[in-house]
Symmetry: C2
Subunit: 249 residues, 2 copies
Protein backbone atom coordinates (compact mmCIF):
# COMPACT_ATOMS: atom_id res chain seq x y z
CA UNK A 1 0.00 0.00 0.00
CA UNK A 2 1.25 3.46 -0.89
CA UNK A 3 -0.12 6.70 0.49
CA UNK A 4 -0.44 9.76 -1.72
CA UNK A 5 -0.92 13.39 -0.79
CA UNK A 6 -2.52 15.60 -3.44
CA UNK A 7 -2.96 19.37 -3.66
CA UNK A 8 -6.11 20.24 -5.56
CA UNK A 9 -8.16 23.24 -6.62
CA UNK A 10 -11.87 23.29 -7.38
CA UNK A 11 -14.71 25.59 -8.31
CA UNK A 12 -17.15 25.27 -5.41
CA UNK A 13 -20.09 26.60 -7.41
CA UNK A 14 -21.22 23.21 -8.70
CA UNK A 15 -20.71 21.30 -5.45
CA UNK A 16 -22.73 20.83 -2.27
CA UNK A 17 -19.36 21.02 -0.50
CA UNK A 18 -16.21 18.94 -0.18
CA UNK A 19 -17.67 16.15 1.91
CA UNK A 20 -19.56 13.16 0.51
CA UNK A 21 -23.30 13.25 1.23
CA UNK A 22 -26.39 11.54 -0.14
CA UNK A 23 -28.20 12.99 -3.18
CA UNK A 24 -25.76 15.84 -3.74
CA UNK A 25 -22.62 16.33 -5.78
CA UNK A 26 -19.46 16.57 -3.66
CA UNK A 27 -15.76 17.01 -4.41
CA UNK A 28 -14.87 13.95 -2.33
CA UNK A 29 -17.27 11.68 -4.21
CA UNK A 30 -16.11 12.84 -7.65
CA UNK A 31 -12.48 12.17 -6.76
CA UNK A 32 -13.32 8.81 -5.15
CA UNK A 33 -15.19 7.77 -8.30
CA UNK A 34 -12.19 8.61 -10.48
CA UNK A 35 -9.69 6.95 -8.13
CA UNK A 36 -11.81 3.80 -7.95
CA UNK A 37 -11.85 3.65 -11.75
CA UNK A 38 -8.08 4.12 -11.87
CA UNK A 39 -7.79 1.41 -9.19
CA UNK A 40 -9.57 -1.14 -11.43
CA UNK A 41 -12.88 -0.88 -9.60
CA UNK A 42 -11.57 -1.33 -6.06
CA UNK A 43 -12.94 1.47 -3.95
CA UNK A 44 -10.62 4.20 -2.67
CA UNK A 45 -11.45 6.57 0.19
CA UNK A 46 -10.34 10.20 0.09
CA UNK A 47 -9.59 12.27 3.21
CA UNK A 48 -9.49 16.05 2.98
CA UNK A 49 -7.71 18.54 5.22
CA UNK A 50 -10.71 20.87 5.32
CA UNK A 51 -14.40 20.39 4.69
CA UNK A 52 -15.32 23.35 2.57
CA UNK A 53 -19.03 24.22 2.53
CA UNK A 54 -21.37 24.34 -0.42
CA UNK A 55 -20.23 27.04 -2.86
CA UNK A 56 -16.82 27.53 -1.23
CA UNK A 57 -13.81 27.29 -3.57
CA UNK A 58 -10.33 25.85 -3.12
CA UNK A 59 -7.03 26.92 -4.62
CA UNK A 60 -4.95 24.60 -2.46
CA UNK A 61 -6.99 21.96 -0.63
CA UNK A 62 -4.96 18.92 0.46
CA UNK A 63 -6.24 15.34 0.37
CA UNK A 64 -4.70 11.92 0.90
CA UNK A 65 -5.60 8.40 -0.22
CA UNK A 66 -4.03 4.94 -0.50
CA UNK A 67 -3.42 2.84 -3.59
CA UNK A 68 -2.20 -0.79 -3.56
CA UNK A 69 0.83 -0.14 -5.76
CA UNK A 70 3.47 2.50 -6.24
CA UNK A 71 2.80 4.84 -9.17
CA UNK A 72 4.69 7.59 -10.91
CA UNK A 73 3.59 10.84 -9.22
CA UNK A 74 3.32 12.97 -12.36
CA UNK A 75 1.49 10.28 -14.32
CA UNK A 76 -0.97 9.83 -11.47
CA UNK A 77 -1.46 13.62 -11.20
CA UNK A 78 -2.10 13.87 -14.93
CA UNK A 79 -4.57 10.97 -14.89
CA UNK A 80 -6.51 12.47 -11.98
CA UNK A 81 -6.41 15.98 -13.45
CA UNK A 82 -7.80 14.89 -16.80
CA UNK A 83 -10.22 12.19 -15.59
CA UNK A 84 -11.94 14.19 -12.84
CA UNK A 85 -14.62 16.70 -13.97
CA UNK A 86 -13.36 20.03 -15.31
CA UNK A 87 -14.22 21.90 -12.10
CA UNK A 88 -11.56 19.94 -10.14
CA UNK A 89 -7.84 20.23 -10.90
CA UNK A 90 -4.87 18.33 -9.53
CA UNK A 91 -1.91 20.64 -8.88
CA UNK A 92 0.50 18.20 -7.23
CA UNK A 93 0.62 14.53 -6.23
CA UNK A 94 3.34 13.21 -3.88
CA UNK A 95 4.03 9.84 -2.31
CA UNK A 96 4.07 10.24 1.48
CA UNK A 97 4.73 7.97 4.45
CA UNK A 98 1.83 5.97 5.82
CA UNK A 99 1.60 8.10 8.94
CA UNK A 100 0.68 11.21 6.95
CA UNK A 101 -2.93 12.31 7.46
CA UNK A 102 -4.20 15.40 5.63
CA UNK A 103 -6.52 16.31 8.47
CA UNK A 104 -4.72 15.20 11.64
CA UNK A 105 -1.13 16.17 10.83
CA UNK A 106 -0.44 19.58 12.33
CA UNK A 107 -1.01 22.32 9.78
CA UNK A 108 -2.03 25.91 9.30
CA UNK A 109 -4.56 27.08 6.74
CA UNK A 110 -4.87 30.26 4.74
CA UNK A 111 -8.25 31.42 3.47
CA UNK A 112 -9.03 34.29 1.14
CA UNK A 113 -12.37 36.05 0.87
CA UNK A 114 -13.17 38.19 -2.18
CA UNK A 115 -15.73 40.99 -2.05
CA UNK A 116 -16.71 42.72 -5.31
CA UNK A 117 -17.48 46.33 -4.37
CA UNK A 118 -18.11 47.46 -7.95
CA UNK A 119 -21.41 49.06 -8.86
CA UNK A 120 -22.66 47.07 -10.66
CA UNK A 121 -20.80 43.83 -9.97
CA UNK A 122 -18.56 42.06 -12.48
CA UNK A 123 -20.97 39.46 -13.96
CA UNK A 124 -18.07 37.08 -14.73
CA UNK A 125 -17.28 36.97 -11.01
CA UNK A 126 -20.80 36.49 -9.61
CA UNK A 127 -20.03 32.95 -8.40
CA UNK A 128 -16.45 33.82 -7.38
CA UNK A 129 -16.82 36.90 -5.18
CA UNK A 130 -19.51 38.28 -2.89
CA UNK A 131 -21.07 41.48 -4.14
CA UNK A 132 -21.31 44.36 -1.64
CA UNK A 133 -22.36 47.57 -3.42
CA UNK A 134 -22.67 49.79 -0.30
CA UNK A 135 -20.37 52.50 1.07
CA UNK A 136 -17.38 51.19 3.03
CA UNK A 137 -14.66 52.81 5.11
CA UNK A 138 -11.86 50.53 3.94
CA UNK A 139 -9.11 51.99 6.15
CA UNK A 140 -11.31 51.53 9.20
CA UNK A 141 -11.79 47.89 8.22
CA UNK A 142 -8.03 47.50 7.66
CA UNK A 143 -7.39 48.72 11.22
CA UNK A 144 -10.21 46.70 12.75
CA UNK A 145 -9.29 43.37 11.13
CA UNK A 146 -5.94 43.45 13.00
CA UNK A 147 -7.80 43.00 16.30
CA UNK A 148 -8.72 39.48 15.19
CA UNK A 149 -5.07 38.42 15.11
CA UNK A 150 -3.79 36.42 18.08
CA UNK A 151 -5.32 33.74 20.28
CA UNK A 152 -9.01 34.21 21.11
CA UNK A 153 -12.11 32.25 21.95
CA UNK A 154 -14.04 32.62 18.69
CA UNK A 155 -17.39 31.27 19.99
CA UNK A 156 -19.13 34.53 18.98
CA UNK A 157 -18.04 34.01 15.37
CA UNK A 158 -19.08 30.40 14.89
CA UNK A 159 -22.46 28.93 14.00
CA UNK A 160 -24.48 27.94 17.05
CA UNK A 161 -24.83 24.22 17.63
CA UNK A 162 -21.25 23.36 16.65
CA UNK A 163 -20.12 20.15 18.31
CA UNK A 164 -16.50 21.29 18.77
CA UNK A 165 -15.92 22.07 22.46
CA UNK A 166 -12.73 24.09 22.46
CA UNK A 167 -13.32 27.26 20.48
CA UNK A 168 -9.96 28.86 21.14
CA UNK A 169 -7.98 29.39 17.94
CA UNK A 170 -4.95 31.41 16.88
CA UNK A 171 -5.06 33.71 13.87
CA UNK A 172 -1.50 34.46 12.73
CA UNK A 173 -2.52 36.82 9.94
CA UNK A 174 -5.69 38.79 9.27
CA UNK A 175 -5.39 41.40 6.56
CA UNK A 176 -7.41 43.34 4.03
CA UNK A 177 -6.14 44.66 0.70
CA UNK A 178 -8.06 46.76 -1.81
CA UNK A 179 -7.44 45.59 -5.38
CA UNK A 180 -8.24 48.75 -7.34
CA UNK A 181 -7.82 47.06 -10.75
CA UNK A 182 -10.71 44.74 -10.09
CA UNK A 183 -12.55 46.85 -7.50
CA UNK A 184 -12.27 43.96 -5.06
CA UNK A 185 -11.57 43.66 -1.37
CA UNK A 186 -9.27 40.73 -0.63
CA UNK A 187 -9.42 39.45 2.96
CA UNK A 188 -6.72 36.99 4.05
CA UNK A 189 -6.86 34.86 7.20
CA UNK A 190 -4.17 32.40 8.30
CA UNK A 191 -4.25 30.26 11.41
CA UNK A 192 -4.03 26.87 13.03
CA UNK A 193 -7.71 26.12 12.48
CA UNK A 194 -11.01 27.85 11.96
CA UNK A 195 -14.45 27.08 13.36
CA UNK A 196 -17.55 26.36 11.29
CA UNK A 197 -18.53 29.53 9.38
CA UNK A 198 -15.98 31.55 11.39
CA UNK A 199 -14.42 33.32 8.41
CA UNK A 200 -17.75 34.14 6.77
CA UNK A 201 -19.01 35.54 10.10
CA UNK A 202 -15.85 37.62 10.61
CA UNK A 203 -16.16 39.02 7.07
CA UNK A 204 -19.88 39.78 7.56
CA UNK A 205 -19.04 41.60 10.79
CA UNK A 206 -16.18 43.60 9.23
CA UNK A 207 -18.44 44.66 6.35
CA UNK A 208 -21.07 45.87 8.83
CA UNK A 209 -18.42 47.85 10.71
CA UNK A 210 -17.04 49.29 7.45
CA UNK A 211 -20.57 50.30 6.44
CA UNK A 212 -20.89 52.11 9.82
CA UNK A 213 -23.87 50.06 10.92
CA UNK A 214 -21.88 48.58 13.80
CA UNK A 215 -19.40 50.32 16.12
CA UNK A 216 -15.76 49.19 15.95
CA UNK A 217 -15.79 48.32 19.67
CA UNK A 218 -18.38 45.60 19.07
CA UNK A 219 -15.65 43.34 17.64
CA UNK A 220 -14.06 43.03 21.08
CA UNK A 221 -17.49 42.54 22.68
CA UNK A 222 -18.21 39.60 20.32
CA UNK A 223 -14.93 37.98 21.40
CA UNK A 224 -15.43 38.75 25.12
CA UNK A 225 -19.15 37.96 25.43
CA UNK A 226 -18.99 34.97 23.00
CA UNK A 227 -22.43 35.92 21.71
CA UNK A 228 -23.16 35.07 18.07
CA UNK A 229 -26.09 37.53 18.05
CA UNK A 230 -23.69 40.44 18.45
CA UNK A 231 -21.83 39.52 15.23
CA UNK A 232 -22.78 40.56 11.71
CA UNK A 233 -24.52 38.32 9.16
CA UNK A 234 -22.72 35.34 7.63
CA UNK A 235 -21.13 36.43 4.33
CA UNK A 236 -22.15 34.33 1.30
CA UNK A 237 -19.97 31.28 0.52
CA UNK A 238 -19.18 32.30 -3.09
CA UNK A 239 -16.39 34.70 -1.98
CA UNK A 240 -14.50 32.17 0.14
CA UNK A 241 -11.37 30.31 -1.04
CA UNK A 242 -9.31 27.71 0.85
CA UNK A 243 -6.02 29.05 -0.46
CA UNK A 244 -3.20 27.11 1.12
CA UNK A 245 -2.43 24.45 3.69
CA UNK A 246 0.97 24.39 5.31
CA UNK A 247 2.06 21.26 7.23
CA UNK A 248 4.62 21.42 9.99
CA UNK A 249 7.71 19.30 9.31
CA UNK B 1 -39.45 59.42 -28.13
CA UNK B 2 -36.20 59.43 -26.18
CA UNK B 3 -33.06 57.57 -27.16
CA UNK B 4 -30.89 55.92 -24.51
CA UNK B 5 -27.32 54.71 -24.71
CA UNK B 6 -26.34 52.02 -22.21
CA UNK B 7 -22.97 50.53 -21.30
CA UNK B 8 -23.34 46.91 -20.25
CA UNK B 9 -21.26 43.94 -19.18
CA UNK B 10 -22.17 40.29 -19.52
CA UNK B 11 -20.88 36.80 -18.96
CA UNK B 12 -20.85 35.25 -22.45
CA UNK B 13 -20.77 31.69 -21.13
CA UNK B 14 -24.54 31.27 -21.00
CA UNK B 15 -25.31 33.01 -24.30
CA UNK B 16 -25.26 31.96 -27.95
CA UNK B 17 -23.87 35.45 -28.58
CA UNK B 18 -25.08 39.03 -28.44
CA UNK B 19 -27.41 38.90 -31.43
CA UNK B 20 -31.00 37.63 -31.33
CA UNK B 21 -31.47 34.26 -33.06
CA UNK B 22 -34.09 31.54 -33.04
CA UNK B 23 -33.99 28.78 -30.39
CA UNK B 24 -30.96 30.16 -28.56
CA UNK B 25 -30.44 32.51 -25.64
CA UNK B 26 -28.96 35.88 -26.66
CA UNK B 27 -28.02 39.03 -24.79
CA UNK B 28 -30.11 41.17 -27.17
CA UNK B 29 -33.25 39.12 -26.60
CA UNK B 30 -32.90 39.11 -22.79
CA UNK B 31 -32.54 42.90 -22.73
CA UNK B 32 -35.39 43.38 -25.20
CA UNK B 33 -37.66 41.21 -23.03
CA UNK B 34 -36.87 43.30 -19.96
CA UNK B 35 -37.24 46.62 -21.81
CA UNK B 36 -40.58 45.53 -23.28
CA UNK B 37 -41.82 44.68 -19.77
CA UNK B 38 -40.64 48.06 -18.46
CA UNK B 39 -42.34 49.67 -21.47
CA UNK B 40 -45.73 48.19 -20.48
CA UNK B 41 -45.65 45.43 -23.08
CA UNK B 42 -44.82 47.59 -26.09
CA UNK B 43 -41.86 46.02 -27.84
CA UNK B 44 -38.47 47.72 -27.76
CA UNK B 45 -35.60 46.94 -30.14
CA UNK B 46 -31.99 46.97 -28.93
CA UNK B 47 -29.02 47.82 -31.17
CA UNK B 48 -25.52 46.83 -30.10
CA UNK B 49 -22.17 48.29 -31.13
CA UNK B 50 -20.59 44.89 -31.55
CA UNK B 51 -21.96 41.43 -32.15
CA UNK B 52 -19.99 39.28 -29.76
CA UNK B 53 -19.94 35.56 -30.60
CA UNK B 54 -21.15 32.67 -28.49
CA UNK B 55 -19.07 32.46 -25.29
CA UNK B 56 -17.46 35.89 -25.74
CA UNK B 57 -17.74 38.24 -22.75
CA UNK B 58 -18.26 41.99 -22.48
CA UNK B 59 -17.00 44.44 -19.90
CA UNK B 60 -18.14 47.53 -21.83
CA UNK B 61 -20.50 46.72 -24.70
CA UNK B 62 -22.62 49.71 -25.81
CA UNK B 63 -26.25 49.45 -26.89
CA UNK B 64 -28.99 51.95 -27.70
CA UNK B 65 -32.80 51.83 -27.69
CA UNK B 66 -35.79 54.17 -27.73
CA UNK B 67 -38.51 54.62 -25.14
CA UNK B 68 -41.65 56.75 -25.61
CA UNK B 69 -41.03 58.91 -22.57
CA UNK B 70 -38.17 60.55 -20.76
CA UNK B 71 -36.95 58.64 -17.71
CA UNK B 72 -34.49 59.25 -14.94
CA UNK B 73 -31.18 57.73 -16.11
CA UNK B 74 -30.13 56.19 -12.81
CA UNK B 75 -33.60 54.78 -12.08
CA UNK B 76 -33.70 53.23 -15.55
CA UNK B 77 -30.19 51.82 -15.11
CA UNK B 78 -31.12 50.30 -11.77
CA UNK B 79 -34.36 48.79 -13.14
CA UNK B 80 -32.52 47.23 -16.08
CA UNK B 81 -29.64 46.04 -13.92
CA UNK B 82 -31.89 44.28 -11.44
CA UNK B 83 -34.57 43.03 -13.86
CA UNK B 84 -32.28 41.48 -16.47
CA UNK B 85 -30.80 38.04 -15.63
CA UNK B 86 -27.81 38.01 -13.30
CA UNK B 87 -25.30 37.41 -16.11
CA UNK B 88 -26.06 40.87 -17.59
CA UNK B 89 -25.21 44.11 -15.78
CA UNK B 90 -25.99 47.71 -16.61
CA UNK B 91 -23.04 49.98 -15.84
CA UNK B 92 -24.36 53.28 -17.23
CA UNK B 93 -27.49 54.63 -18.94
CA UNK B 94 -27.50 58.06 -20.63
CA UNK B 95 -30.07 59.97 -22.65
CA UNK B 96 -28.60 60.74 -26.09
CA UNK B 97 -29.75 62.64 -29.15
CA UNK B 98 -31.84 60.79 -31.72
CA UNK B 99 -28.99 60.68 -34.21
CA UNK B 100 -26.83 58.53 -31.93
CA UNK B 101 -26.40 54.98 -33.21
CA UNK B 102 -24.29 52.54 -31.19
CA UNK B 103 -23.09 50.76 -34.31
CA UNK B 104 -22.86 53.45 -36.99
CA UNK B 105 -21.45 56.35 -34.99
CA UNK B 106 -17.69 56.41 -35.43
CA UNK B 107 -15.96 54.56 -32.63
CA UNK B 108 -12.95 52.52 -31.65
CA UNK B 109 -13.10 49.26 -29.73
CA UNK B 110 -10.77 47.65 -27.25
CA UNK B 111 -10.74 43.89 -26.79
CA UNK B 112 -8.87 41.86 -24.21
CA UNK B 113 -7.97 38.20 -24.53
CA UNK B 114 -7.01 36.18 -21.43
CA UNK B 115 -4.88 33.04 -21.66
CA UNK B 116 -4.39 30.93 -18.54
CA UNK B 117 -0.90 29.44 -18.83
CA UNK B 118 -1.01 27.73 -15.42
CA UNK B 119 -0.44 24.00 -15.18
CA UNK B 120 -3.06 22.95 -14.28
CA UNK B 121 -5.52 25.75 -15.11
CA UNK B 122 -7.43 27.77 -12.53
CA UNK B 123 -10.79 25.89 -12.41
CA UNK B 124 -12.64 29.09 -11.40
CA UNK B 125 -11.54 30.69 -14.67
CA UNK B 126 -12.29 27.85 -17.08
CA UNK B 127 -15.10 29.80 -18.78
CA UNK B 128 -13.26 33.13 -18.50
CA UNK B 129 -9.82 32.44 -19.98
CA UNK B 130 -8.43 30.07 -22.59
CA UNK B 131 -6.11 27.45 -21.16
CA UNK B 132 -2.75 27.00 -22.92
CA UNK B 133 -0.46 24.74 -20.87
CA UNK B 134 2.44 24.56 -23.37
CA UNK B 135 5.86 26.27 -23.38
CA UNK B 136 5.78 29.87 -24.64
CA UNK B 137 8.45 32.43 -25.44
CA UNK B 138 6.56 35.42 -24.05
CA UNK B 139 9.12 38.09 -24.99
CA UNK B 140 9.12 36.84 -28.58
CA UNK B 141 5.32 37.16 -28.61
CA UNK B 142 5.57 40.66 -27.09
CA UNK B 143 7.86 41.74 -29.94
CA UNK B 144 5.83 40.00 -32.63
CA UNK B 145 2.45 41.40 -31.59
CA UNK B 146 3.73 44.93 -32.34
CA UNK B 147 3.88 44.05 -36.05
CA UNK B 148 0.07 43.91 -36.07
CA UNK B 149 -0.20 47.58 -35.17
CA UNK B 150 -0.97 49.98 -38.02
CA UNK B 151 -3.17 49.78 -41.09
CA UNK B 152 -3.24 46.40 -42.83
CA UNK B 153 -5.47 44.21 -44.95
CA UNK B 154 -6.46 41.57 -42.36
CA UNK B 155 -8.01 39.09 -44.85
CA UNK B 156 -5.61 36.36 -43.68
CA UNK B 157 -6.91 36.70 -40.12
CA UNK B 158 -10.64 36.62 -40.78
CA UNK B 159 -12.95 33.64 -41.25
CA UNK B 160 -13.43 32.70 -44.88
CA UNK B 161 -16.83 33.51 -46.34
CA UNK B 162 -17.17 36.88 -44.60
CA UNK B 163 -19.48 39.19 -46.54
CA UNK B 164 -17.55 42.36 -45.67
CA UNK B 165 -15.63 43.52 -48.76
CA UNK B 166 -13.10 45.96 -47.38
CA UNK B 167 -10.81 44.10 -45.01
CA UNK B 168 -8.42 46.96 -44.32
CA UNK B 169 -8.44 47.95 -40.65
CA UNK B 170 -6.23 49.98 -38.34
CA UNK B 171 -4.97 48.59 -35.05
CA UNK B 172 -3.87 51.46 -32.80
CA UNK B 173 -2.65 49.23 -29.97
CA UNK B 174 -1.65 45.59 -29.82
CA UNK B 175 0.09 44.54 -26.63
CA UNK B 176 0.75 41.57 -24.42
CA UNK B 177 1.29 41.64 -20.67
CA UNK B 178 2.15 38.71 -18.41
CA UNK B 179 0.15 38.81 -15.17
CA UNK B 180 2.40 36.76 -12.87
CA UNK B 181 -0.09 36.84 -9.95
CA UNK B 182 -2.65 34.92 -11.92
CA UNK B 183 -0.30 33.21 -14.39
CA UNK B 184 -2.26 34.81 -17.22
CA UNK B 185 -1.33 36.37 -20.52
CA UNK B 186 -3.39 39.48 -21.19
CA UNK B 187 -3.60 40.49 -24.87
CA UNK B 188 -5.03 43.94 -25.66
CA UNK B 189 -6.15 45.10 -29.11
CA UNK B 190 -7.59 48.54 -29.91
CA UNK B 191 -8.73 49.72 -33.30
CA UNK B 192 -11.38 51.22 -35.50
CA UNK B 193 -13.02 47.89 -36.19
CA UNK B 194 -12.22 44.19 -36.28
CA UNK B 195 -13.23 41.49 -38.76
CA UNK B 196 -15.14 38.35 -37.88
CA UNK B 197 -12.89 36.12 -35.68
CA UNK B 198 -9.91 38.42 -36.36
CA UNK B 199 -8.80 38.70 -32.74
CA UNK B 200 -9.18 35.01 -32.00
CA UNK B 201 -7.18 34.20 -35.15
CA UNK B 202 -4.45 36.72 -34.25
CA UNK B 203 -4.20 35.24 -30.73
CA UNK B 204 -4.11 31.67 -32.10
CA UNK B 205 -1.31 32.69 -34.46
CA UNK B 206 0.69 34.45 -31.76
CA UNK B 207 0.41 31.40 -29.48
CA UNK B 208 1.71 29.17 -32.27
CA UNK B 209 4.65 31.54 -32.82
CA UNK B 210 5.34 31.69 -29.07
CA UNK B 211 5.27 27.90 -28.93
CA UNK B 212 7.88 27.86 -31.78
CA UNK B 213 5.66 25.88 -34.10
CA UNK B 214 5.49 28.80 -36.55
CA UNK B 215 8.30 31.16 -37.60
CA UNK B 216 7.93 34.83 -36.65
CA UNK B 217 8.16 35.88 -40.32
CA UNK B 218 4.95 34.07 -41.10
CA UNK B 219 2.98 36.91 -39.49
CA UNK B 220 3.99 39.25 -42.30
CA UNK B 221 3.30 36.56 -44.89
CA UNK B 222 -0.28 36.16 -43.56
CA UNK B 223 -0.84 39.90 -43.96
CA UNK B 224 0.86 40.05 -47.39
CA UNK B 225 -0.55 36.87 -48.93
CA UNK B 226 -4.01 37.28 -47.31
CA UNK B 227 -4.20 33.52 -46.87
CA UNK B 228 -6.19 32.24 -43.88
CA UNK B 229 -4.48 28.83 -44.16
CA UNK B 230 -1.15 30.37 -43.20
CA UNK B 231 -2.54 31.63 -39.85
CA UNK B 232 -2.77 29.66 -36.61
CA UNK B 233 -5.95 28.07 -35.25
CA UNK B 234 -8.82 30.23 -33.96
CA UNK B 235 -8.42 30.67 -30.20
CA UNK B 236 -11.46 29.62 -28.12
CA UNK B 237 -14.10 32.31 -27.43
CA UNK B 238 -14.01 31.96 -23.62
CA UNK B 239 -10.88 34.17 -23.32
CA UNK B 240 -12.27 37.09 -25.33
CA UNK B 241 -13.70 40.27 -23.74
CA UNK B 242 -15.17 43.32 -25.47
CA UNK B 243 -13.61 45.74 -23.02
CA UNK B 244 -14.40 49.27 -24.09
CA UNK B 245 -16.00 51.30 -26.88
CA UNK B 246 -14.91 54.85 -27.41
CA UNK B 247 -17.07 57.15 -29.59
CA UNK B 248 -15.60 60.12 -31.40
CA UNK B 249 -17.19 63.41 -30.39
Amino acid sequence: MTRYKATISYDGHGFAGFQRQPHARSVQEEIEKTLTRINKGQSVVVHGAGRTDSGVHALGQVIHFDLPEERDEEKLRFALDTQTPEDIDFIRVERVTEDFHSRYNKHSKTYEFLVDIGRPKNPMMRHYATHYPYPLDISLMQETIKRLEGTHDFTGFTASGTSVEDKVRTITEASLVFDSDRNFLVFTFSGNGFLYKQIRNMVGTLLKIGNKRMPVEQLERILAEKDRHLAGPTAAPNGLYLKEIHYEE
